[in-house]
């Protein structure tokens, strides 16, 4: 075993040091601000605690959500704190409140039941009712996602052993960072399934509500920048094209001394490298001063004894 210890890629301490303290705190507060599935002993999400270190932009986004909630009494499922997906299971859009149509489809195929979401806007309590009617201990929650992911599976939460519930995919239905074109659109549940499972599907976000899961790019099919070419384009060019589409930039991300920095404004001559959906009608642009994105820096960590890093450590 000593041999393998010598090729430990990175120690726990080194891994932890890669992450800035505010990132660490931000991730924890983002996670605890998300909804917890029904039945887990918690009736509403905790408010954000002091762990939160919000950027001014995030604070601005929060204010926008509050304003939206207060201004439109028919849609106050939002909370005063952004990112709270309790909105996903608070109440349905008014047009869906009275509909009796089934919100899930259950198709028996062999020894399995294929479950898909028919109505990604319904009250999640109704999904859970339908699972219960099929005697399945499956809990479903919804998260706000970018348009091309609405109605797709964004998360499976089994933490107890290997789950027999598996995703079914529809190639090309959506594009994600990790899954590529293999878009999960439902689950396959053994007909005799007796375990428990937590599923999260994507739902449409409300105006101003930040997405919790997004497509691989804002230029992916179904997203607000689909069809736009951003390679080699300057910030000025891209922002002008976005304006024509009534899309705004929620923030610009750039890298300074190898640290990602969020900016409200960047020089128009900067170049755009990539774009991600952020909220309805809003994107985040990854930008920098050079036409092509600089190569990632060399490792910041020192090599172990006997290990030759491929490049010299970063200054």
């Amino acid at each position: 075993m000593n041999q393998l210890s010598r090729i430990t890629p990175v120690s726990d301490a080194e891994a932890a040091r890669l992450v800035r303290p505010d990132t660490l705190a931000g991730l924890a507060s983002d996670i605890t601000a998300t909804a917890v599935p029904a039945g887990s002993g918690r009736s509403r999400p905790a408010r954000r605690r002091v762990l939160l270190i919000a950027t001014p932009l995030a604070a601005a986004a929060t204010a926008a959500v509050v304003a939206t909630s207060i201004a439109s009494p028919g849609h106050q499922h939002g909370s005063a704190i952004k990112d709270r997906p309790v909105v996903a299971r608070s109440h349905p859009a008014p047009g869906h409140r009275t509909t009796r149509a089934r919100v899930l489809s259950f198709v028996r195929h062999g020894g399995y039941i294929i479950v898909k979401v028919r109505d990604p806007l319904a009250d999640p309590a109704r999904y859970n009712d339908e699972f219960a009617r099929h005697h399945l201990n499956i809990r479903l929650t919804m998260l706000p996602v970018s348009p091309s992911l609405v109605g797709t599976l964004v998360y499976m939460g089994s933490s107890q052993g290997a789950s027999p519930v598996t995703p079914i995919t529809a190639r090309g239905r959506c594009y994600t960072g990790g899954g590529g074109s293999a878009c999960p659109v439902g689950v396959r549940v053994p007909a005799d399934f007796h375990g428990s499972e937590v599923l999260t599907f994507g739902r449409a976000a409300r105006p101003g509500e930040q997405y919790e899961s997004v497509a691989v790019s804002a230029t992916a099919p179904g997203e607000v920048m689909h069809g736009m070419s951003i390679q080699g384009q300057t910030v000025a060019q891209v922002v002008a094209a976005l304006r024509a589409r009534h899309v705004s930039v929620a923030r610009f991300n750039t890298s300074r001394n190898n640290i990602a920095v969020n900016l409200r404004h960047v020089p128009g001559r900067y170049y755009v490298y990539s774009a991600l959906p952020w909220a309805p009608g809003q994107v985040i642009l990854f930008v920098g001063p050079t036409r092509t994105q600089p190569a990632p820096p060399s490792p910041v960590r020192k090599g172990h004894d006997g290990i030759q890093p491929t490049a010299s450590p970063a200054p």
């Binding site: 090729i7 430990t8 509403r44 939460g157 290990i307």
Partner: protein, 212 residues
């Protein structure tokens, strides 16, 4: 979760006050149980984020993927907190969650999590080391092993777990761990011997692992 049976409304109430349409008022401040839940998560996060970050980075060559796997691991932990055992088992349970998230990623069921964005930016500077000489041979032999062997060996060598702890992570018996680990070590030793032979006689072809 009775509160979710009704529709949340705040008409006529201050922005931070909520009431349920069926007449049951939700308390505005979080309950003691909610606070306790959050405290428990934060304690586990504070104590074990390093081991979880390490576990994931040691098994992922792509920092982008690592950020999503880490975020999803802690998100799962938060959502399944009731399943998390008390210390000292919590770290092992988190390894188990991370292992399953990683397996899903390797099967292509990956999602890019918005909440991993900041983490993704921080981890972007990480590059897995490349090895030379004898260590390169060890790394190559290790990479050539079946995934189950690699995980067992790594849990021992990289996470420093004993048989009982590995059994908790993998959800199998201690005896099964002992037997599988024994076989994995034999396969590693054989792979290493083959690599060393190849290295000593670079011109000799070694089809199917048999020394020519």
């Amino acid at each position: 979760m009775a509160s979710h049976q009704g529709h949340l409304r705040n008409a006529g109430l201050p922005a931070d006050m909520w009431a349920v349409s069926k007449g049951v008022a939700l308390p505005s401040p979080p309950t003691a149980a909610q606070d306790e839940r959050q405290r428990r998560f934060e304690a586990a996060y504070a104590a074990h984020h390093g081991p979880v970050f390490g576990y994931v980075l040691r098994r992922t060559s792509n920092p982008d993927d690592a950020a999503d796997v880490i975020a999803e691991t802690f998100l799962t932990a938060w959502r399944r907190l009731e399943d998390m055992p008390p210390e000292p088992q919590a770290r092992l349970w988190l390894y188990g969650v991370a292992r399953r998230v990683l397996a899903n990623h390797h099967r292509g069921e990956r999602r890019r999590w918005a909440l991993a964005d900041r983490l993704r930016a921080d981890l972007a500077v990480y590059r897995a080391p490349e090895y030379t000489g004898e260590l390169a041979l060890i790394a190559e032999a290790f990479r050539g092993l079946p995934a189950a062997d690699r995980e067992l060996l790594a849990l021992t060598a990289w996470e420093g777990l004993d048989h009982g702890q590995i059994a908790v992570v993998l959800g199998c018996s201690r005896n099964a761990v002992r037997i599988r680990l024994h076989r994995a070590r034999k396969r590693l030793a054989a792979a290493l011997a083959r690599g060393q032979a190849r290295s000593a006689h670079p011109g000799v072809s070694v089809p199917n692992g048999d020394l020519a």
